[in-house]
C-alpha cells in the first residue's frame, strides 16, 4: 500500500489480525480440505464473499438488519455485584444473550443469508449442536422465505427440546442424525453429505468459525461486530481499552468475534475457555480440543482435534451441547500456537456453579456455554487489580438449558 507510511506497513506485517493467507491458512491451520465436488463451490463462495465485502450496499443492508432486526448494539454492562463479590477486576458483560434469538449466532446468520441471496441460492442447510445456530438459521430463512433444513444429532434433539420446537415453528425441516454419537460432529458430517449431493442450489450456512476457507474468516468477520462494539463501548464507559477479555470456545465463533479486534493490542490479555467436561484426564470425557487434543484434518480444515493415535476422531463430552465438538476453529489453533491467546478448560461442574453464581448476583441466566467463560472469571478476577477492566462475553441466554440445569441440581420442573 503505497499511500501508507513505512511505519504502518511494518506494523501490518507484524499483525495478528491479517490472516488467513490466500489459501486460507493461519500458520499451518485452516486451509480447504474438501472433496472435489465441493471445491468449485467453495471457490465460488470465496469470490462471492470478497465481492460482497467490497460492496457498500451489502454492508449497509447488514448494518440495517443488525440495528433493526437483531437489536444491536448489544449492551456492555457493568456487573457490579459480581465485581464486589469477587473483589478484583472490574467486570463487564458483553450482552450477546440479548440479541434476537438469544445468542451471538444471529450475527453470522444475517451476514451469510444476505450472501446466499446474492449468490442466488434457494435452499439453506445447516448443522446445529445446542440448537442456537439452528434457531438463528431457521429465523433468517423464515424472514427471507427460504427453504431450510437443519441437521441435528439425535442425542441433541432430545436434550434441546425447546430449540427443536422453535425451529419447527419457524418452518425448518429438522433432520435428526443417528450416526456416530448423534451429536454436533455427526450433524456436520450429514450436512456435508447433503451439500455434496445438492451442491448446485444449496447454500451451507456453517454456524461456527471452522470448516473450509473462507468460512473461518467469513464467520469471524460477521462476528467481529462483538469486539468492535466492545472497543467503542469501553472507550465510552472508561475512556480506555479493556485489560482482559474472556470468552467460551466450542467451535469458537463468539470468542473470535470478541477477540479479533483486540489481537493487535498487546495490553489486552485474552482468554478462551474450553469445555473441560468431567476433566481433561478423562478419556472421551471432555471437549477441550486445544488443551487435550492434537492437530489433524476434519470438516475441511486443519486444526486441533480430539482424536486417538490412529487419527480416528473421538466423541467430545460437555454438559453444554454447544461446546460438544471435537474440533475448534483454525484461527484459535493458530492463536494458541503463537501464544497470543491463553486457552484453559472449565469443567461441567465449574460451569454449573458459575451459572448459578451469575444468576443470583446479576439476575442474568447465562447459557451453559457462556457459563464456562464465567467459571474462569470467578477464578481470574480475584487475582487481578481493581482497576483491571475485564470483559466476559455472555454469548447466549440460559433458558434453553433449564431442563439440563434442573436435572443436575435435582430440581423438579
Amino acid at each position: 500500500m503505497a499511500t501508507k507510511s513505512k511505519k504502518t506497513a511494518e506494523a501490518a506485517l507484524n499483525s495478528y489480525a491479517t490472516g488467513p493467507d490466500d489459501r486460507g491458512f493461519f500458520g499451518i491451520f485452516g486451509g480447504r480440505f474438501v472433496a472435489e465436488t465441493l471445491m468449485p463451490l467453495i471457490l465460488e463462495l470465496e469470490r462471492a464473499y470478497e465481492a460482497a465485502k467490497a460492496d457498500p450496499e451489502f454492508q449497509r443492508e447488514l448494518d440495517f438488519l443488525n440495528l433493526h432486526y437483531a437489536g444491536r448494539p448489544s449492551p456492555l454492562y457493568h456487573a457490579e455485584r459480581m465485581t464486589a463479590e469477587l473483589g478484583g477486576a472490574k467486570i463487564y458483560f458483553k450482552r450477546e444473550e440479548l440479541n434476537h434469538t438469544g445468542s451471538h449466532k444471529i450475527n453470522n446468520c444475517l451476514g451469510q443469508i444476505l450472501l446466499a441471496r446474492r449468490m442466488g441460492k434457494k435452499r439453506i442447510i445447516a448443522e446445529t449442536g445446542a440448537g442456537q445456530h439452528g434457531v438463528a438459521v431457521a429465523t433468517v430463512c423464515a424472514k427471507y422465505g427460504m427453504e431450510c433444513e437443519v441437521y441435528m444429532g439425535a442425542t441433541d434433539v432430545e436434550r434441546q427440546a425447546p430449540n427443536v420446537a422453535r425451529m419447527m415453528l419457524l418452518g425448518a425441516k429438522l433432520n435428526p442424525v443417528t450416526s456416530g454419537a448423534g451429536t454436533l460432529k455427526d450433524a456436520m458430517n450429514e450436512a456435508l453429505r447433503d451439500w455434496v449431493t445438492n451442491v448446485r442450489d444449496t447454500y451451507y450456512l456453517i454456524g461456527t468459525a471452522a470448516g473450509p476457507h473462507p468460512y473461518p474468516a467469513m464467520v469471524r468477520d460477521f462476528q467481529a461486530i462483538i469486539g468492535h462494539e466492545t472497543r467503542k463501548q469501553m472507550m465510552e464507559a472508561e475512556g480506555r481499552l479493556p485489560d482482559t477479555i474472556v470468552a467460551c470456545i466450542g467451535g469458537g465463533s463468539n470468542a473470535i468475534g470478541i477477540f479479533h479486534p483486540f489481537l493487535d493490542d498487546p495490553g489486552v490479555a485474552i482468554y478462551g475457555v474450553e469445555a473441560g467436561g468431567h476433566g481433561i484426564d478423562v478419556e472421551n470425557g471432555h471437549a477441550a480440543s486445544m488443551t487435550g487434543g492434537s492437530p489433524g484434518v476434519l470438516h475441511g480444515n486443519r486444526t486441533y482435534l480430539l482424536q486417538d493415535g490412529d487419527g480416528q476422531i473421538l466423541e467430545g463430552h460437555s454438559i453444554s451441547a454447544g461446546l460438544d465438538y471435537p474440533g475448534v476453529g483454525p484461527e484459535h489453533s493458530w492463536l494458541k500456537t503463537i501464544g497470543r491467546v491463553t486457552y484453559v478448560p472449565a469443567t461441567d461442574k465449574e460451569a454449573l456453579d458459575a451459572l448459578q453464581f451469575c444468576t443470583r448476583l446479576e439476575g442474568i441466566i447465562p447459557a451453559l456455554e457462556s457459563s464456562h467463560a464465567l467459571a474462569l472469571v470467578k477464578k481470574l478476577a480475584p487475582t487481578l487489580a481493581k482497576d483491571n477492566l475485564l470483559v466476559v462475553n455472555i454469548s447466549g441466554r440460559g433458558d434453553k438449558d433449564l431442563a439440563t440445569v434442573a436435572k443436575h441440581l435435582g430440581m423438579k420442573i
Binding site: F33, P40, L41, N189, R193, V199, G296, G311
Partner: protein, 276 residues
C-alpha cells in the same frame, strides 16, 4: 519428475490389449474383521477384479453413504489401524505381485501417521496409488507431490462440478488413472445417468491421455457394462460392502456367505464387462 511405471500403468496397458474395461473393486480394510478381509481381498482377484481399492477406515467418512460408513465402523470396531492396513497389503503382495492396490480414504489418518512415514511405508508394503478424498489439488504440496516423487500414483477425482476451467488443475498432477465421480453425491447414492457420464468422460479424455474410470452408484453387471462404454473401467464399492454387511451373522460376525457373496457379485460384474 521421474516417470515411474507402476502396476497400475502395466495393468491398463494389458487391459487395452484385451480390449476390455477394468473392473475396479473397493473394500474397506479390516471389514468385517482382519482375517475375513484378507480372504475377501485374495478372492476378489480370483473372481476377476483387475484393480483393488482398499479403503483406510475413518471415523468420519464425509463423502461416503451409509454402506461405506458402516463398513468403516465395522473395521474400526474390529480393531483396524493404519499399521494393520499396510500389513494387509504386505501379506497380499507375498502372493500377488501384479494386481494393483490403491489405498483410498481421508487425510486425517494419514496426517496423524505422518505423511513422509506413510508414503515410505505404503511404497514398501507394495501400494501402487493413493486416493485421498479431502486433499484437493490446491494442497498438492502436502501429499500428492511427495507421493509422486516416491513412485506412487496419485489418483484424483473429477466430478460433475469440475468444470472446463478447473479440469486442468485437477489433471495436472494426477497419475495412474482419473476417477470420474458420476454423480454429485455420496458413494452408493442414486444411479448415474448413463448419457451424462459418457459425455463427461469424453470431455475428460480430450484433456488427458490417462485412463478414466467411473464410480459412485454402480451396483449391477448391466449397469457396469452400460457405464463402462467409452471409459477405461468402472469402480464398484458400496454394492460389495453391502454384500458383506448382508452376509453377517449375529453380532456382526462373518459367515460362510461373506466371502462367497462377494465372489458371486464380482464374477457377475466381470462377466458383464467381458461380454462383447
Amino acid at each position: 519428475m521421474t516417470k515411474h511405471v507402476t502396476r497400475i500403468d502395466a495393468s491398463f496397458a494389458a487391459l487395452k490389449k484385451e480390449k476390455r474395461p477394468a473392473l475396479v473393486t473397493f473394500i474397506t480394510a479390516g471389514d468385517p474383521d482382519p482375517e475375513t478381509s484378507a480372504e475377501v481381498l485374495a478372492e476378489l482377484v480370483k473372481a476377476g477384479a483387475d484393480i483393488i481399492e482398499l479403503g483406510m477406515p475413518f471415523s468420519d467418512p464425509m463423502a461416503d453413504g451409509p454402506a461405506i460408513q458402516a463398513s468403516s465402523q465395522r473395521a474400526l470396531k474390529a480393531g483396524q489401524t493404519m499399521v494393520k492396513t499396510l500389513q494387509m497389503v504386505r501379506d497380499f503382495r507375498a502372493h500377488d505381485n501384479t494386481t494393483p492396490i490403491v489405498l483410498m480414504g481421508y487425510y486425517n489418518p494419514i496426517y496423524v501417521y505422518g505423511n513422509e512415514r506413510f508414503i515410505k511405508d505404503a511404497k514398501a508394503a507394495g501400494v501402487d496409488g493413493l486416493i485421498v478424498v479431502d486433499v484437493p489439488p490446491e494442497a498438492d504440496d502436502e501429499l500428492c507431490l511427495p507421493a509422486l516423487a516416491a513412485g506412487l500414483n496419485f489418483i484424483r477425482l473429477a466430478t460433475p462440478t469440475t468444470d472446463k476451467a478447473r479440469l486442468p488443475a485437477v489433471l495436472k498432477n494426477t497419475s495412474g488413472f482419473v476417477y470420474y465421480v458420476s454423480i454429485t453425491g455420496i458413494t452408493g447414492a442414486a444411479a448415474p445417468v448413463v448419457n451424462d457420464v459418457h459425455s463427461q468422460v469424453k470431455a475428460i479424455k480430450a484433456e488427458t491421455p490417462l485412463p478414466v474410470v467411473v464410480g459412485f452408484g454402480v451396483r449391477s453387471g448391466d449397469q457396469a457394462r452400460a457405464i463402462s462404454k467409452g471409459a477405461d473401467g468402472v469402480v464398484v464399492g458400496s454394492a460389495i460392502v453391502s454384500t458383506i454387511e448382508k452376509s453377517l451373522g449375529p453380532k456382526g460376525a462373518a459367515t460362510d456367505r461373506t466371502v462367497k457373496g462377494v465372489v458371486e457379485l464380482v464374477r457377475e460384474l466381470r462377466a458383464a464387462l467381458s461380454a462383447d
